[in-house]
Structure formats: C-alpha cells, structure tokens
Point group: C2
C-alpha cells in the first residue's frame, strides 16, 4: 500500500524572509522530489502543516497506520527522510522499530496520531 510523505512547501522554518526568497519548505520539497522516491512512497507538497515554528516539516501517513510528523528538517536531510519513509512503508501499522529509525526521526518528532482503525481498547 502506498504511503504519503506530505511536505510543507510554504514553511519559513521560523525565519524572517524576503517575500520572494525561497522558502525552506519549498527547498526541502525540491530536494525530496529530486531524489528517487522509495517504492511505495508518494511525495506530496502541501501548503502549511501548521508546524510553523518547528519547520520545515513533513508528515507520513497511510490508511491503517499511525501518522507521524517531523520537524526542524533541512534539504540535506532528504536522504534520511526517504530512508525513514521506506521503513514506514514496509510496516503494517506505521510503527518502525526504534533502532531502525533515522536519527532525525528519533529526535525530531513533532507528533504522532493513532490510525483511525485502531480499536479503542488498543489505544488505551
């Protein structure tokens, strides 16, 4: 099943920029789009992930899986982001074993949200 890597394209990453200056979010999106997306991962740009003070930000989601949001990312993180996205795509529930997560995913999680199909008792 294909997972989606949403990339905030409008993020200023907390930096004051000239109006026509390239946005850090757009630069991250460009770096990710220029790389080869791993199998089962689609990269989708989105205007604002509402993580403005902690950007640039990306989110990983797929039906039936936990959603993860990561922040404080830069274009040079693109290879690690794609490695982490591939590991996420390979799971059934979105939960990648801790040691198999890229360091940026271990240290720069902004939030995670249970899948909508998670039975209530399992979330307790």
């Amino acid at each position: 099943m294909t997972v989606t890597l949403h990339v905030c394209t409008t993020c200023r990453a907390g930096v004051v920029l000239e109006e026509d200056a390239p946005r850090p979010g757009a630069q991250l999106h460009a770096a990710l789009s220029a790389a080869e997306a791993p199998e089962g991962v689609q990269i989708v740009g989105v205007e604002c992930l509402s993580a403005c003070s902690q950007g640039a930000a990306v989110a990983l989601s797929a039906p039936g899986k936990w959603t993860y949001v990561y922040g404080r990312l830069a274009p040079e993180d693109a290879p690690d982001i794609l490695t982490g996205a591939a590991a996420y795509a390979a799971t059934t529930d979105g939960l990648v074993p801790w040691r198999e997560r890229p360091v940026i995913f271990r240290k720069q999680s902004l939030a995670r949200v249970p899948p909508m199909t998670l039975p209530m008792e399992a979330a307790e």
Copy 2:
C-alpha cells in the same frame, strides 16, 4: 460521523516528575473525560502522541478530515478543547473557520496533516 479526540495520557509536559506523581497528560484526560463529550466526539486516551516537549497534547482526527494536533494544554483548557472538537466534528473536511476556533487551537497547533482522501492536486 464521529470524530476522535485522542488525549495523550502519559505526557509529562516537559516537567521532571516523581515516578508516582500524576502525569499532566493523565490529568488532562481526566478533565476531558469528566466533562460531557459533545455530540459526535469520542474521547480516547493514548499512550504517547510523541509531542513530549510540547505537551500535554491532544489530536483530532476522522476519516476524510484534516488531522490536527494541539499542545501546551492544561486541564483548565478542557472546555475550550471540547468546544473546538465540536466545531471540528461539524465540518466535512476538518477545516474550522479561523474565527470560530478557540484561541488555544489558533495559537497552540503543533501540526496538521491532510486527509488521506485528499486528491493530490488539491494538496499542491
């Protein structure tokens, strides 16, 4: 359609606590559970929303809607959180008009993630 208000029950909200001290997340969950849930809103406790430094945290999600995560919340925010959850439940896409959002939702968003059903072109 019922929306889910996930509440992190394990959150320490960045505070160093004695092992048996009540967790801020559990206190927020208790305050929300003690109030009457708005129609169409189910409150579900969850262990860790991975927003540890920005907790206590909650997430609003439902099939076909944008997911929202909010942080830096306290038990006294419970009424506003439930008001915001009711407004979210009343939308078709999760996008509540800015002026109708509680102030804590305007100012304490940690992240939002597009619905999985969002067509790619709409997210660009």
